[in-house]
Amino acid sequence: MKCLKLIFLFYVLTAATQIFAQDSTASLLSILEKEMEQNKDVTFYTTATFKTTRLINGHSVENVGKGVLDVKVSHRFGNISEGFYELFGLDKASMRAGFDYGITKNIMIGVGRSTFQKTYDGFIKVKILQQSRGKKNMPITLSYIPTIALKTIHYEDPKIDNHFRSRLSYSHQLIIGRKFSDNTSLQLMPVFIHQNLVTLARESNDIFAIGIGGRQKISKRVSLNAEYYYVLPGTRLNGTNNSLSLGFDIETGGHVFQLHFTNSQGMNERTFIADTKGRWDKGDIYFGFNISRVFTIGKKN
């Protein structure tokens, strides 16, 4: 009888393995998908970390595509606390018009002019690392952005000996960004700014700041953005504050509309990071928007 039991057990086991064997041949698709999972030859690059190349005032880790021209028109209105007489600042607009162009997938250039201090600015943005998974695994995207800005507003005191170089300022910025999920992206932005001329002798020409920013998508085409730049205490200019901005990105086809509230009026790195005069707690809040429209002028892909 013992022998019989053993044979019965064997019988059951064989039947069980047969069921398993059938199960593994049941779906050709699952075999195929397993093969694809194991295939490590493909790298998936993360795209659309942010909707456009600017987070609010500052840059995001995004670049425009190769051969793509991005026309950007940005406005910052007057102080909301000025009330109804100035229609909450809408009577006073300061603007920047700019053109960005993608030379390659990873290198873009841009120029712009702001009405604030009649400033021309130019930048290069180089994507050094791109977040990816698969064959090449990279947790972050890293970009480097050097900028130059030229104030062309009349010299404050034309009688003294003024130098052209006093109109220039520079910034060097790194952006470390990561898309955590389809909806959430964050970035850190250490930045160094050099101004050839500052107002007071005791002020530093060199300013260090660190920015943090992010977006949370609230629908497929709308995201909520925030951006904050903290200026390191020893380097802060007299009477300036850290820049804090909150806003929305609204995307419709080739356009991205960015609507925001910020305590900064400037729209180039030197002005909004180093020269933010407004304070949120005093009600110095400016409404503003950026409109981005892309045109493909180079060859496809």
Binding site: L32, T47, V68, T296
Partner: protein, 184 residues
């Protein structure tokens, strides 16, 4: 004690049925999918050559799949980004697939060409639809080539078109699949 041989026999029968002859399997050696959206204001085209597929000739069963984000072409890089980000949501639904069975009987050992119908489940954007797709199949020197043209309704797969791009995006997408399959 005569029970013993009977059980032994049963066991032997069971074991023998477990050892199947290996099925005649084919897999895609080169395959491409091209889709086009022909709307009043814009023609959009993109293709992928990363089509993967297997075919069990004995059972007449097949499965094809590809990574949605491998489509290239489009009219601008931004369009490609929107395709992945907003329409196909390729991060959430990384693959599109078609699996099922061929209705007609064909002899894959002989050269020839056939018009066949493939019945199965087409999954795009995480939504599965049962479809019967017409397909040209030809066999030449053991290479099985297939070609199929069909359409996909975006609404069938829960892909919504915002009003502002209605004139730029067709609601019916034309798809062409081509693949060469060889014995595995």
């Amino acid at each position: 004690m005569f029970q013993k041989p009977i059980i032994l026999l049963f066991t032997l029968i069971l074991l023998s049925s477990n050892v199947n002859a290996p099925a005649l399997m084919y897999s895609v050696s080169s395959g491409s999918i091209t889709f086009s959206s022909d709307a009043p204001l814009e023609l959009i085209k993109a293709s992928s050559n990363q089509l993967k597929g297997i075919f069990n000739a004995d059972k007449k069963e097949f499965a094809f799949t590809l990574n949605v984000n491998s489509f290239k072409g489009f009219n601008s890089p931004l369009q490609q980004e929107h395709f992945n980000e907003n329409y196909l949501e390729s991060n959430k639904y990384p693959r599109a697939s078609f699996e099922g069975k061929i209705i007609e009987d064909i002899d894959l050992k002989k050269n020839g060409s056939y018009n066949i119908r493939a019945k199965g489940n087409l999954t795009v954007h995480g939504v599965t639809q049962e479809r019967i797709l017409k397909c040209e199949l030809s066999i030449k020197n053991k290479v099985v080539s297939i070609k199929s043209n069909f359409t996909v309704l975006l609404a069938d797969h829960n892909i919504t078109i915002p009003k502002v791009v209605h004139e730029k995006l067709a609601s019916e997408i034309k798809v062409e699949v081509k693949a060469d399959m060889i014995e595995k």
